[in-house]
């Protein structure tokens, strides 16, 4: 099997699974218990925090373990919105965010907040001028994703952070789920207040993730309960999950150097796919290396997905979190791509250990499928 759906989820690393199993079976005590067993488990969770913090160059008191990307985004956005609503009720985001940001914003809109959804150009990039124009005295939060999950656009996070330093009232949250372990982000930048990280996109486990929250921000918690995670995320800690996340993060960092070869793979994919008249490449040229989105005229994406699957190759349509709705991709529509291309997009997403042969097989299979079905579909 050739797995090219790594932006939906990745295969857990065997070492990560081993860690999870050992911690879950041997270090099961509650870290809040005062006996020695509890102490050992608390040590593990602290060490997990330190490891994540040192990889990101933040303080370990700024790492909060959560159940993953959706929870981290909810916690940061609602947390800031409700904590600081007395300062203003305006939030700025983009039109191409992940549902775990967009739907939170819509929910807040229905509950008395005002939200500006910044438009993007044909590459999926926002403009700094648009952002600057949208900022008002009421703006308490800007939330923007680092790498887009459908097409791989990389937003100018550092420039946005530089700009937002001059707006001390406005917090800046980044959905870093698709960027973590792949593209650098200046986590310690003063203009960045919180960052979402997910475990299962970096060969960690589902149900693991964290929110980096700087000391400059305080949050209204989503849950109420005990004092775990400084009260920001009550509930007995998922220690095995936290330690496995720390391990996944270390392994991801160690293989980050492999990322550059994905640019070569993407260039190869583009070069070949562009030769087909039916194909339109939807991903921007200067986007992330690991994601390539394209549409094939006349082919329903499900047909392609199934045909690939029959050949042992796994690719997907838009984002897994939206793919069950039978609608064109909101990301592609925002980029100005027409309704039919926006409804027929296929995404190839690679991992850091992808082999050049995988790409070759994919292209060969693509050719076979097109030749086999073009008369029927065309």
């Amino acid at each position: 099997m050739i797995y090219l759906d790594n932006s939906a989820t990745t295969k857990p690393h065997i070492e990560v699974l081993k860690t999870y199993q050992t911690v879950a079976s041997e270090y099961f005590a509650n870290p809040s218990s005062i006996h020695r067993l509890g102490g050992e488990v608390e040590k593990l969770i602290n060490k997990a925090k330190e490891q994540v913090a040192s990889i990101l160059k933040v303080k370990s008191s700024e790492v909060f373990f959560t159940s993953g990307g959706t929870e981290s985004n909810n916690l940061a956005i609602k947390g800031i919105a409700y904590r600081y609503q007395n300062r203003g009720k305006h939030i700025i985001t983009t039109q191409i965010e992940h549902p775990s940001v967009l739907e939170v914003c819509k929910f807040l809109e229905a509950n008395g907040f005002k939200v500006t959804y910044l438009p993007v150009n044909e590459h999926g990039e926002i403009s700094l001028q648009d952002l600057e124009k949208a900022l008002t005295n009421e703006t308490i939060l800007v939330t923007i994703m680092h790498v887009n999950n459908e097409i791989g656009t990389v937003q100018p996070i550092s420039d946005i952070a530089d700009m937002l330093i001059q707006y001390p009232k406005t917090f800046f949250h980044i959905d870093h789920v698709q960027g973590f372990g792949k593209l650098p982000l200046p986590y310690d930048h003063k203009g960045i207040d919180s960052v979402t990280i997910s475990g299962h996109k970096i060969h960690g486990l589902k149900g693991t993730g964290c929110l980096i929250k700087k000391e400059s921000v305080s949050l209204a918690p989503l849950f109420h309960g005990g004092q775990q995670e400084q009260g920001n995320r009550p509930g007995t800690e998922n220690v095995a999950g936290a330690v496995s996340l720390a391990k996944a993060a270390r392994l991801a960092k160690e293989s980050q150097t492999n990322y550059d070869q994905l640019y070569r793979y993407q260039a190869n994919l583009r070069e070949v796919l562009e030769q087909y008249d039916q194909v339109t490449i939807n991903s921007p040229k200067h986007g992330a290396a690991h994601i390539l989105n394209f549409s094939v005229k006349g082919f329903k994406p499900e047909v392609l997905i199934h045909a690939f699957m029959d050949e042992g190759i796994v690719v997907s349509t838009k984002s897994a979190c939206s793919s069950k709705q039978n609608e064109p991709s909101h990301v592609l529509l925002a980029c100005g791509i027409d309704q039919s291309d926006a409804s027929s997009a296929v995404r190839v997403s690679m991992n850091l250990d992808q082999k050049a042969e995988d790409i070759e097989s994919f292209l060969q299979t693509f050719n076979n499928i097109i030749r086999q079905y073009e008369n029927v579909m065309g």
Partner: protein, 400 residues
């Protein structure tokens, strides 16, 4: 070519006269230990500076560690070239290309007077070379975005840009050993840190009274000792079982003098441990007037039992300043964990804030601690902490 050296500048170390060599060797071995997990490096200690040859090693982590080594006044990433005008020009040009900004300044120094071109003239030669070969850079001698330093030394010329401040102080181990009374509170780790800053190698002693004190309190002290190794390498922590002695004091001494007597017994034990281990002084986190046991009268009454020097680095410091340091050195969050130590159990409702020596002696006279003290020292447990990078044997390591 990118930065291939770290240039380390000494502070008062350079002034140590005949002992200078000893101090420099000590610093070099401390730097070596702190960076022992980077086998590619080579470290050379010269009379007026030290340098680390990176041999292709990434410098970020090395910079972070150098910031925590006592005895380093400042350090910089450097390009090392021969004392040759053309080579220096070439390297300066490469250094500026790594920088961001619009304005620059060259500061040449020539400790090696054999080099034919004086510093002032060198500034002009090198500035001119950059202006001719780059676009967008202009000279600003008063407030430049980037300052390129050129140090023409005897062995070679070092070209550096940013000067990163070190922690100062003296290399740990260069001025002897002290036994730190480590309680688990905010003050004692800070006292240990400041003592290490003056070149002292620490061992630590902790009194615990299970089951009145918990495993978590012990854990706290172990974590503090581990944290302090970052600044001073290995630390031995001696754990003294104190339950019997505390119970005996509680049963036999007047309640309001219990604290004073307890402190005196701790000091007697500490002196004996120090003597056994050939340690010449005791360090405590006492700060004058902070709590009942730290009044002038109290120190006077407690200090009577030993004539070993007691180093009290915090004696004249305000609590807020102590807390600030503890946050900087990452001991604060450990210290505030809410577990009782032996100083907070059996606390009298109204401890004597102004104990008197003759009274203490009178109350203490009928209580014989000899056997208990001997037993406590015999049952002492010693745990050795190495700087975390060296703790390879940690049972948890494979989980991470």
């Amino acid at each position: 070519m990118i930065y291939d050296h770290v240039l380390i500048r000494y502070g008062e170390l350079a002034l140590k006269g005949k002992n200078q060599k000893f101090f420099i060797n000590k610093l070099r071995s401390n730097v070596q230990k702190a960076l022992s997990d980077f086998p590619n490096l080579s470290i050379k200690g010269k009379r007026d500076h030290m340098y680390i040859l990176l041999n292709g090693q990434d410098y970020e982590e090395i910079i972070e560690r150098c910031k925590d080594i006592f005895g380093i006044q400042s350090f910089s990433l450097a390009i090392k070239v021969e004392n040759d005008e053309e080579k220096i020009k070439e390297a300066v040009l490469e250094a500026i290309l790594l920088e961001e900004g619009k304005t620059f300044k060259i500061t040449a120094k020539r400790p090696n007077k054999n080099f034919p071109i004086p510093s002032q003239q060198m500034n002009q030669v090198l500035g001119g070379h950059i202006l001719r070969n780059t676009e967008g850079w202009t000279v600003n001698v008063h407030n430049p975005d980037v300052e390129i330093r050129v140090e023409i030394r005897h062995d070679a010329t070092y070209i550096t840009s940013k000067k990163i401040p070190g922690k100062g102080g003296l290399p740990v181990g260069s001025t002897g050993k002290s036994l730190l009374l480590l309680s688990g509170g905010i003050d004692s780790p800070v006292a240990g840190y400041l003592t290490m800053k003056r070149g002292v190698q620490l061992e630590a002693i902790h009194f615990h009274s299970p089951p009145f004190t918990s495993d978590r309190a012990r854990q706290k002290v172990e974590d503090l000792a581990q944290t302090l190794t970052k600044f001073g390498g290995e630390i031995k922590l001696h754990l003294i079982p104190f339950t019997d002695i505390q119970q005996k004091i509680f049963q036999n001494a007047p309640e309001n003098y219990g604290m004073t007597i307890m402190r005196r017994v701790m000091l007697r034990i500490s002196e004996q441990v120090a003597r056994q281990r050939e340690i010449l002084s005791i360090t405590t986190g006492e700060s004058l007037g902070q709590v009942a046991s730290q009044t002038m009268e109290s120190m006077h009454a407690i200090n009577e039992v030993t004539n070993y020097p007691i180093i009290r680095p915090l004696v004249a410091m305000d609590k807020v300043d102590i807390i600030n340091i503890s946050k900087q050195i990452n001991t604060y969050d450990i210290s505030i964990r809410p577990y009782e130590d032996c100083c907070t159990i059996f606390v009298p409702k109204a401890p004597k804030t102004r104990p008197r020596r003759e009274k203490v002696n009178q109350f203490e006279a009928p209580i014989d601690f000899t056997d208990e003290i001997e037993k406590a020292i015999n049952d002492m447990e010693t745990v050795t902490f190495k700087s975390s990078k060296q703790n390879q044997g940690d049972i948890y390591d494979e989980l991470f």
